[in-house]
Each structure stands twice: as C-alpha cells, then as structure tokens.
C-alpha cells in the first residue's frame, strides 16, 4: 500500500501533460471532421451567391463576387417554384398541426393518468416504427389510385400525420411525464376541470416539449421523399421532389441549382436549430434525456 502512496503523486503529475497532448490531437481531428461535415453545405451556400460563370470554374472560385442572380434565376427563370414550396409547406404544417391535436391527448391519457393497458398502447405505437415505410408504399399507391387521391397533397398530409404520430406520442409522453402529478391533483381538488387544466397547466408547462415535437414532425414531413416521389405527379409535387427533377434538368446551371437547394433546405435548417437540444430526447423516443 505504501507503494501506492509513493507512486500516486508522480503518476498524477505525469498524467496531466499527456492528457492535454492527447486532447489537442483529438481536438484537431474533431475539427477536421467538423470541417469535412460542413464543406458540402458551405459549397452549396457559397455557390448559390455566385454568378454562373464563377460557379462553373474548377477549382471553385471561392473569392468571387457575390450576387443574387442564382436566386433571381431560380424564382423567375421559367419554372415557378412557389407551387412546390407551397405544397411542402401545406403538407408539413397541416400534418404537424393534426399530429399535435391527436398526440397530446393520447400522450396525456398514457402518461399523466395511466389507465390499464396504457403500456400496450404505447408499445403498439412503437412497434409501428419497426415497419419499413417502403412496405406500406405499394398498397397505399394502389388504394390512392383507386379512389383518385394520387397527386393530391391531402393524401400526403394524412400519411405524414400517421407516420409522425407514433414518434409524437412517445415524445409528448416523455415530456408530459415530467409534470409533477401533485400540481394536477391540487388543481382538481380546487375544482379545475379537465379543459381548464389542459389550457392553464399542462400546455404551458410542456410548451418546450410541444415546440420540439412539432419542429421534429415538421422536419420529417418536409424531408420525406419516398412517398412524395411516388404518390405525387404534377400538382402536388413537394419541394424536395421538385429539387431532384430540377437538378436533372438544370444541372449545368450550378449557381441556380445551389440557390434552389438552399431555398429547399432553409425551413428545416431553421426548425432544426430551434429544436437542437430537444432533438435526441424526441428521436430516441424519450430513452435519453
């Protein structure tokens, strides 16, 4: 044991500089990784502000003068992108609103006042996330074809709603479970009805959770590509689907395409950074806080 006493201070003293060295290397590597991660995005944003002539040079002319021509060309150069962006916005916002309207009561019933069998309900929701989306695609396509719902934005609204519902219920449950039941008990003893409790207690307390849930549902709906690609044609095409066809037809005009990609990314970028710290809790279905 005396040996331990004797060696401890020296090992401790040696440890410090070695640790910081390792940390410096680690830090450099982490930064390199970070830069690799961001290069494509920087390329996109930078190129979108360049003229077509500067955008097409190789190597890329980083310091070229900035211009809004790419965006001008995108919005008023032949194909009007607004209908597609509007479709995406409709599908994402509407489905997010419906998801919240259905998920909050469901999560409430499963968390604040658990009734019998509520875990079965929760696990039913969870198990649907194990179904591959592509497996449901073909039946939905056939049914939509039969009832003339193909190329209809409301089909996407309903589908995105049901796809995001399980996640939203799990997320909301994990946020609602943080409300101390004593508050609700006190309120109900004071004679507050359910609606009043919802409005004045539950919603205000869980507002950050509701915001995070809606942002995540918005991101998922906006980014969804497979269903949007297969189930829409001309009039209900969403922004990301429009972008893929735009890349194919206008690929040579790099600045214009980069402007298009930036515009299509903008809503999720804003939503993503607003939801950043709650993202994991939601996406791991409340497994991690």
């Amino acid at each position: 044991m005396t040996a331990a006493v004797a060696t401890r201070p020296t090992t401790h003293a040696e440890k410090e500089p070695r640790k910081s060295h390792a940390n410096v290397y680690f830090g450099v590597i982490a930064w390199i990784i970070g830069i690799i991660f961001v290069v494509p995005v920087l390329f996109m944003i930078l190129t979108s502000f360049h003229s077509e002539a500067d955008a097409s040079t190789n190597p890329p002319s980083v310091g070229a003068p900035l211009t809004l021509d790419g965006y001008r060309e995108f919005f008023s150069g032949g194909i009007d992108p607004w209908p597609y962006l509007a479709n995406s916005l409709t599908a994402s916002v509407l489905s997010t609103i419906i998801v919240l309207a259905l998920a909050i009561p469901a999560a409430y019933a499963c968390s604040i006042r658990p009734v019998r069998k509520w875990t079965d309900v929760m696990f039913f929701f969870l198990s649907t996330k194990m179904l591959p989306p592509v497996a449901g695609l073909l039946p939905i396509y056939l049914i939509a074809q039969r009832i003339n719902m193909l190329d209809n934005i409301f089909l996407l609204v309903i589908l995105y709603t049901s796809m995001n519902l399980p996640i939203a219920v799990w997320m909301m449950r994990s946020f609602l479970a943080e409300i101390p039941p004593a508050i609700l008990e006190a309120a109900s003893i004071d004679g507050a009805g359910l609606l009043y409790q919802m409005r004045r207690i539950i919603v205000p307390i869980s507002m950050p959770g509701i915001a995070a849930t809606s942002l995540i549902c918005f991101i998922f709906s906006w980014n969804e590509l497979l269903f949007a690609r297969v189930l829409t044609g001309v009039s209900a095409q969403t922004g990301p689907v429009f972008l893929t066809s735009f890349v194919t037809s206008q690929g040579l005009f790099l600045a214009k395409v980069c402007a298009a990609a930036t515009i299509v990314s903008l809503p999720v970028l804003i939503a993503g950074f607003a939801a950043q710290d709650k993202l994991v809790q939601g996406l791991s279905l409340g497994a991690v806080k």
């Binding site: 982490a30 991660f37 097409s56 019933a109 509520w118 996330k129 073909l138 590509l225 990301p240 497994a287």
Partner: protein
C-alpha cells in the same frame, strides 16, 4: 396481426430502460392511489387515444398487412395482369428467395448497414461525443451544429451536393485529390454510399452519446483516473458498462433507419449494374419503375421480416444483458472501491 403484436409483446425493455421503468413506476403508484384523482375516466382516456390509434392502424399497419396479400398475387402495373391480378400463392416469395438479385440486394443491405451504421456512425458518433465531454463549450456547440447540418438537410439536397462533390469532371474531390476524371459513384458505389451515410447519420449517434455520457458520474472517472487507469481503461471499465443500454438503443435505431434508407437511390440509382442496390432501392425499382407489384410486395414483406428479426435480436440483447450489465456494473463498482482504498491509504 402477429406481425405487429410480436414486437409489442417483446417490447417492454425495447428502447432503453424508460419504458420499463415507467411501467414499474406506474405499477408502484397504481394501486396505492385513487386511479381517477385527476378526473380522466376510462371512457375518456380511450376517447383520447382512439383517434391516434385509428389513424396509425389504418395508414401504417393495415397497408403493411395488405402487402402480405399483394405478395400472393401475380400483379403488374401494366400488361394483362394489371386488369385482373391472379392468385398465385407463395410463388413470389419462393421466387424471391431463389432470386440472385434479391440475395445480392440483401447482402448489400447488410454491408451498408454494418459498415455505415453499426460501425461507422456508432464509432464516429461516440468519439465525437467523448471529445465533447472535455471540450470547451463554444467548441462543442460549433461542432455540434456543423455535424447536425448533414443530418437535418433534405435527402434530395444532400444527394445533389454529393453528386456535385464527386462529379467526374468538375467535382471538388477530384480537384482536391488531384485525381482527374475518377467517376467515384461509378467505380466505388458501395464505398460512396457507406461514407455518405456515415456523414449523414453520425450526428444522431453523437447527440445520443453526448447525452448518455452525461449520465456517467464524474466521481467514478476521477477515482479511476487517480488509481492510474488509462483513458481506454476508464472507457472500458467505467464508461461502457454505464452507457451499455444507450449503445444498444442507438444501434437498434440507426440499424433500422439505415436498413430502410432510400437515399442511396438518389446518389447512385442502385447502379452501376445493381452494385449498390440495397433492398429498399430494389423494391422501388421492381415495383414502381418496372411495375411488378406482386413481386415487389413479396420483397417488401421479407424486408419487414428482416426488420423484425433485427428488432427482436436487439431486444433480446437488451433484456438478456440485464444481469450481465449488472455484473459489469458491480465489477466496476468493486474496482472503484478498491481504487478508492488504494488512494486513501
């Protein structure tokens, strides 16, 4: 129905402890209290849950079951069998299992999932999170944002960016590496989609592990450090036993996502010569591009079964590992105590 009820039954320990702990908590406080203090009776509770259940049932579960039936038909989008699909029994399924294209797609999917998710995203995410623990706050936030960018952008945007990056003539990669005229997506399609998916998905693992590492008590690490444990020993004996459940949860989630990921199609189109055709891409090209709905449905169902197998496998690990991790924890605690004693004397 067995398909959907099976994971539900096997679930209780599924996504991490919280489900299980909540069940326990609910059971603990259940009988002791009046179940209706807050005034949500059984009828109203069902009413609250019903709309969500119906919607999910109709639009997620029903189509998946319908796929099972479609897989039993000779059914095409065009041609004679488009008008009157005929019932051909399990032939689509037996065809698929003996179809080299299907086997190849399954093999490529396993490669894709194994290298990009289970190994790539997992390890890169963990290392970044490990570094973040000691990094200054500003550095952490900045890197977080940079890595998150890749995760959050729409698939069509990132696919376009990578195409521009890897382009044969004007691609940045060729310029940087001084390799003129290398067609990356054509020459190394699998490597491209694997690296692409690591790049795209690492953020999630990073965020999850950053949260998980927060649960490791710093005192344990300090004790281990004072006892002279090297960083990797600390990692093995203190950190990994603590975050074991998080590792499994994370691996389950990213495995399922990557398994069903359709984005490789946007990058390589499954080509060249089906060399990067993972299962979702194969289903898409069979059923939608070539219009073979019956066969496509049969493969979809096999994909679904593969998903269930993965889920059940991980759940077993989570469940069966319970006493395993307990032992590991006890071992870690014993070690920590011993170290403490050594330091004290």
């Amino acid at each position: 129905m067995t398909l959907t009820s099976k994971p539900a039954d096997a679930e209780p320990t599924a996504v991490g402890g919280p489900g299980a702990t909540d069940v326990e908590r609910a059971q603990k406080r259940g009988p002791g209290r009046d179940p209706d203090v807050v005034g949500l009776g059984r009828g109203r509770a069902s009413l609250f849950v019903a709309p969500a259940l119906v919607l999910v049932g109709v639009f997620l579960v029903f189509p998946a079951l319908w796929t099972l039936y479609l897989g039993l038909l000779d059914y095409s989008l065009t041609g004679a069998s488009a008008q009157s699909p005929t019932f051909i029994g399990a032939q689509n399924y037996t065809d698929a299992l003996s179809d080299p294209a299907f086997t190849k797609a399954l093999y490529l999917t396993l490669l894709y999932v194994g290298f990009s998710a289970v190994i790539g995203q997992n390890i890169l995410g963990f290392l970044l999170a490990w570094y973040f623990r000691t990094a200054p706050r500003a550095v952490r936030t900045t890197l977080n944002v940079l890595v998150l960018l890749a995760w959050i952008l729409p698939g069509s945007v990132v696919a376009f960016l990578w195409q521009a990056l890897l382009d044969r003539r004007d691609g940045i990669l060729n310029t940087v590496l001084q390799t003129t005229g290398v067609a990356w997506t054509n020459d190394h399609p699998m490597a491209v989609i694997v690296i692409f998916n690591i790049w795209r998905g690492a953020a999630f693992s990073m965020l999850l592990y950053a949260a998980a590492l927060n649960t490791v008590p710093t005192s344990h690490l300090e004790v281990a450090r004072m006892a002279g444990a090297r960083p990797w020993q600390q990692l093995r004996d203190v950190v990994l036993p603590t975050v074991r459940r998080h590792v499994l949860t994370n691996t389950l989630l990213i495995t399922l996502w990557t398994f069903n990921d359709f984005t490789p199609f946007l990058l390589t189109g499954g080509g060249p010569n089906h060399e990067s055709e993972t299962l979702p891409v194969y289903i898409y090209s069979t059923a939608i591009l070539h219009g073979d709905l019956g066969y496509g449905s049969a493969i979809s169902l096999l994909l679904l079964l593969a998903n269930l197998v993965i889920a059940v496998f991980y759940i077993r690990l989570l469940r069966g590992g319970d006493d395993g991790s307990l032992k590991a924890q006890q071992r870690a605690e014993r070690k920590a105590r011993r170290a403490e004693r050594a330091v004290a004397t």
